[in-house]
Symmetry: D3
Subunit: 339 residues, 6 copies
């Protein structure tokens, strides 16, 4: 079960600037829906819980999700608008820009009691939400808490991706709202920067560090993950590490920290088709692996490779197969034409 806002993404495509755009590519998305699609692509089953308006744009959003095999019966129809975001992709050294237009959306108006969590979670094994869900409306922190409480009742594992967006809320506000919600979270997805911003947990460098990924940074993140587990009582913490990008080759690496120890993936070079949704793809893939009972080392490697491949797919959804992920895990990095 994936709970979060559904959005219309309007992208200028290619390197076109907003002021030049005479059309926008339209795709439907949402951080949690992205994770759901990632999981379904690898063979799992997933339902999205959200709210969209009853009009045709809302309906188009739901049908877009159905196409990728996600269950949409728990998507409420209400309100007048679907949240939107405008995307101008990066053209390095020029950065990608996002303009959020999410105020007043159907989802933002949700309040406790609007969703029947007992029905929704009945038979479920996992509930995932991310930091954008409580950020978009005043009633949503309480809805998230309500969901977490129901999950506890139903024995459902809860995961949260911090997913901090500075254009949605300030660090102060995020920390105020998110900190108490951590009590209901079993598995945390984060990166080093967001752990500091949202949860106030940082780990000092152990000495002078080289930039980029590398042993020092992995060790520091290993300590950070352990500290997060200890401080908030998470069963597991999964961190993503990034470096480069822009004019340089981007690098990507992930780790999973549990009571049994820390598993670190290989370092992957990433492409530059579309990096939005990579964290969500990682989360969906790791949830898939953990639900399938994979050992930690195998799970984190699969999830890291899945997040790496997301960079090669247009749109926020990670439309890659388990076979493709496993080929990358085995070291096949696309030099050949498969024919």
């Amino acid at each position: 079960v994936f709970f979060g806002e559904l959005l219309l993404r309007l992208s200028t495509g290619g390197p076109t600037r907003f002021v030049q755009a005479r059309s926008f590519e339209a795709r439907y998305t949402g951080a949690e829906a992205n994770a759901a699609v990632s999981l379904v692509n690898f063979g799992g089953t997933a339902a999205v819980v959200s709210a969209v308006p009853a009009h045709e744009i809302g309906q188009a959003c739901v049908q877009f999700l159905q196409q990728f095999g996600v269950e949409t019966r728990a998507v409420l129809r209400r309100g007048d608008r679907l949240g939107t975001y405008y995307l101008e992709p990066a053209a390095p050294p020029r950065a990608a820009r996002v303009i959020y237009d999410r105020a007043g959306s159907a989802f933002a108006g949700l309040r406790p009691g609007d969703l029947d969590w007992d029905a929704i979670l009945s038979g479920a094994r996992w509930l995932h939400w991310s930091g954008t869900a409580p950020a978009v409306g005043p009633g949503l922190p309480a809805v998230v808490a309500e969901a977490a409480a129901a999950a506890r009742r139903h024995g459902v594992t809860v995961s949260c991706d911090l997913n901090h967006r500075a254009r949605l809320w300030s660090a102060t506000e995020a920390r105020r709202v998110m900190t108490p919600l951590m009590a209901g979270v079993d598995v945390l997805f984060a990166n080093e920067e967001q752990a500091g911003t949202v949860l106030g947990v940082t780990e000092e460098a152990a000495g002078k560090e080289a930039g980029g990924l590398g042993r020092e940074r992995v060790e520091r993140c290993t300590r950070l993950a352990a500290r997060l587990r200890t401080q908030f009582g998470f069963r597991a913490v999964a961190l993503t590490l990034r470096d480069g990008g822009g004019l340089e080759q981007g690098r990507w690496q992930c780790l999973l920290s549990t009571a049994e120890g820390t598993h670190v993936s290989r370092e992957y070079g990433v492409g530059d088709v579309d990096r939005i949704g990579a964290g969500d793809a990682f989360a969906g893939a790791l949830i898939h692996q953990l639900l399938a009972g994979r050992p930690g080392a195998e799970a984190i490697e699969f999830a890291a490779a899945a997040g790496c491949l997301k960079h090669s797919v247009e749109g926020d959804f990670n439309l890659v197969s388990a076979d493709e992920v496993q080929a990358l895990v085995r070291g096949d990095t696309g030099q050949r034409v498969l024919r």
Copy 2:
């Protein structure tokens, strides 16, 4: 001076349905901006008064207007979002559909005092607004009244196009707000249906009428216009008459009623490229003619032909020249290639 909301229009293009759309054509528009562009195309000068967010989508909107020669210095930068509307064009017998997404826009938040009307209207000769302006936000009826008062002080003629949109507000609400605003209006643009809906003024048929345009309908509208002038004290009333469309050839005719009498245009066949903005094109063209001191018969014929040609142009703006309008007035209806 044209006062009203600026919008982003997102159209599926062609006959594509919302649920099929993977991209949207993007154009910036607004009922009053449309009228302004129409007037500028015929050689006039026009300024748009509105509000857009400071971000790149707001800026793109302003630059889109600049391209067509409209003055944009009085467009405020404020708020977080630009009003949007989604358009699925008609594919007869399937009707065109519009989904408004205008709540919470930069313009909708305007309140009296936000605009310096004395500066804006200094040196101006005409102020135009339409019924969508007071419909979109609670402060806007008062802003319109404030503008009308300033116009009176500066000796500026004020025109209003009723422009009722049932998806923006109910007939009851529209009548409650619009009726008192009519006191500040010199020239009214309307059609028969909207005169009834918004102002409660209707004219009984003089007997059994044939459908369609034709003598009876023109006579009834002539009486209606006179009644509107009498009842509200307008100096002039301009009405548009439509028939057909859909699978049938659309027909279009206009009339202008003043104290000196009523001038009726010829009846024009219209094309089906894009009918949105035809009324605005008519209004802008008639304002252009009246400001240029054209006699009523010539003015209404020019404006009717301008509105007719709008149906042949993609987007809400009437990108046709005075030469093209005059060619149509002379009866040239596009059978030849000009080469």
Copy 3:
């Protein structure tokens, strides 16, 4: 349950000729799938039974169907290719052209025993197939017979749309194969020409007839439908009547003949966006109405209007809502912008 081949439709779009095409629009389709989508759009539930290859093009086909809410669990993965057809739309007076490339498809290779009809039909109320299904492969007539037998066991109503395609098989061959299959059919969909070609049933004109639709033709088709019912024992026969098209306005009318009598729809003018799939849309809509227990007159009017609206939608699927169909039944033919 809708049984038939799934195809990739590659259309040049617009009036582009095959030799000019540098790209093809790609959509997935199939006569029976079209009917299924029509039914689902009006609120029903439908499953498609077919076969596609396991590769990504087969998977894309299945996901395309899922998007519109059709159940796809009974679509087998087998074989190497998905049947394809190339479409060059009409540009009157130039006709639309179709090139079939269906030989050797996954579906064409089906043989009796490949599908578990008892499982498929368990809980179902209706089974629909069309004349293209037995046409594409040597094993398929027997598969259709197998399905019909299972339907009888499960008390499932069976309908067939004659759907004769001269580029798939000859009239002689079609008649040889189709005639015995009629024994398993309860409800027949056809038109006057195909009844003659495939079933050898024609009805003489009662005298000198005016061309086009009109009373004489309706009466003749009424007699034809009755004769078909009598001769083959169908519970109901639904006929579509067409006239015009090309440079003239197309006209469309439908009738339903049962033991209680014949119900004839109004005559509808049709648009020219895309007429492919209109018969399938009609069939899906009529099945929906009959399953919902609508009276015959209401059912045929709804289905005729649904088939009419299909002409306004790009692609083979009838993406219109029940509200839109009912608006057309009420006489609203798209002259207005719904805003």
Copy 4:
């Protein structure tokens, strides 16, 4: 052998106006090349004689022609630019607009002696040129005369299409240049208006005429053709007659006048995809029929139907087959999907 300028056509496509265009569709064309392609499509062989620059745009033009089977060995490479024209298609009642940009082109610089006409015409049976050829450069009237003289030597039939373009030269200038060139012409292609403008030959109406096509107009054109034959000594005169277009259905009819009498085609309704090149398509088709020795009545019917079908094809080339033309001659006007 077809002698004339080759051009790049840059069209805004659809109803887009020049000021809105952010891209242009690019096709290569030329009045005489259009006629050549028409002839080749029907099974003939044709060579184009022209001049293009040696750069890649010139080469792209030549390869575009090759694609449709036209021989291009006699196309010189010289000069710096390829003539261009900008096209804004019609959106009735708005007319199509053409902006010529042909000054200084490779072809416009041709002078007598540049082409080896004896080599070019050796083995040829027909030479065709149109009124745009002598219009574009000072040396071209003499080149045309030179070609006609060589044609006489080689016993090659010469045809000319008046093809007057007011944006290329004035009626006065055209008449001054074209009149003496008529001495070398065996077969004339024209319409009523251009016969008057370019050759000063008109035929009075025999009384009050109804507008449109019809018996009176056909009879008047029959007299006009006879007068042209008498006055200039043409062996044959072929005229095209048009009516309607714009918002009305366009009509098209053709006649062929020889010493044996006059053959008049049926009247055809034409589509509105792209009417440019219809006269060229007619000319190429009639040349094809005359070279194939078809009787006059059959030839003019085929050529008229070919010109009619051109209106259904995008671009200036008439990409239709003899089968399609014959289907139209038989009365098949595209109501059916050929499948």
Copy 5:
């Protein structure tokens, strides 16, 4: 003379995945046709021998080839379908994927006697075929043998490109069919991997080798080429060497081994626009050079540079000029704008 299958290539374009594609770019291609176009671009003349269906898709294929100056008179019209392949381009680290849909094609049905090889080869100097030709149909190995025998009679040089495609046939099957056909081959095109897979000829590394291109790999390939010449009696063997690609810069180098010795090209960096057809471009260019009597060192350098440039051109055809190849040979690698 180039003998092989002609195909329709349907590519999703850009990084779009099959499941996302709503349109396919359409181009016509074929390994041997690619080589023919490469040769023609450099000033040679070439004819393609193949078979396509008589319908419009077959005709479009032939006209596509004509555009690039290839002779198509020996392309038979027969059968019902044109072989097709679907392409999803690479988005590293995600690999490019090809789905073949070639079964039952017009070409695949060829049998000995269908082609009049004496007529086809009369006056020819070179016959080229590749390993995909015998792979697609049961009659084709015998047709290839028939062609080779005719070539011997006419004194025509025969070349073969191994061109192994695992999705067409297994290594075992390929080796069984290809080995006897080598007796009719004078010049072999291959790479190290395919020499092993198809001909069973491999060369051990001379010690521990560095990865990538480099002296060791060149020396090993030099030995391999010599061994192939000795073992099969080829007059010449041309090998291509590749490294990198995917997220790394691709590298490309070629060598030519004859009785006079081995010539090795420089190592070239390749772009990533479209690598399909690079081997064919190399083959066509080398045939061009050898037919023109260029010395081996010059020929291999030109051909290697031509194959390198193919990576910069969309589609399978190598649309580059001899001037562009020579500029690259001189070291000009595109840093400047030529203006």
Copy 6:
């Protein structure tokens, strides 16, 4: 005030070759207009002085400029054509190609006296022109001289960008015309190569130099700039230095030499979206900084970063904001999504 030709740029887009192009992207441009837009984007005001034809393509050009806030009142309407250039973008190692089609343009026909320089320069502070302006027509060197004389009278600073285009004129011709015009120039924009070609000023390497950018090249350019100032009396000389590009990462660095000394920017890596107009963007940005009174070091850093960012924007205009330039100056090179 920016004086120079306005052009229509027709680009194949992406890696498409001229011979493959079936459409061209259309944008309006001009070296001096590019500089003007750059300056306006950073908050300055600029007017373009030029000439375009009165027809719709000329008008579209003017409106394109208006969109970006450039003043266009001093653009004359005259002549028949707008200069055009065709662009095939680079696909390394294949170079970008430009075909100029500027002969006979409205601008090329300008002669002294056509422009009222006193009116144009009244109130202006800066006049900029580039080497393409005097290159395109025989009257233009005198017009440039006339403008420079007027600038002197009005105390307006004059800058010139050498902007040598070998496809417009030879080095000999350029040097003959440009050298005397340097007397009227205060600020020179150039690069090392063009200083040699156009002005005959070169600087010997101080010894054996490493390739690429680097200390030796910067020092040599510093000496070159000083020599240019001394020899021609320029108040300032701004040079751009480039290296790499093609398959390698491009590098870019700029310096400004005045009597107070030389300021050298950092070295920037550039992207590969569209490098055309980078020099113009640099010039416009530096003029903006100098007019704003920025110190030399700050000005050259800002202008270099602005020119760097131009490489990331499609089209010739530098549509980036001062904020984006300053972010790059601060070292932010686009690794993050701004959300």
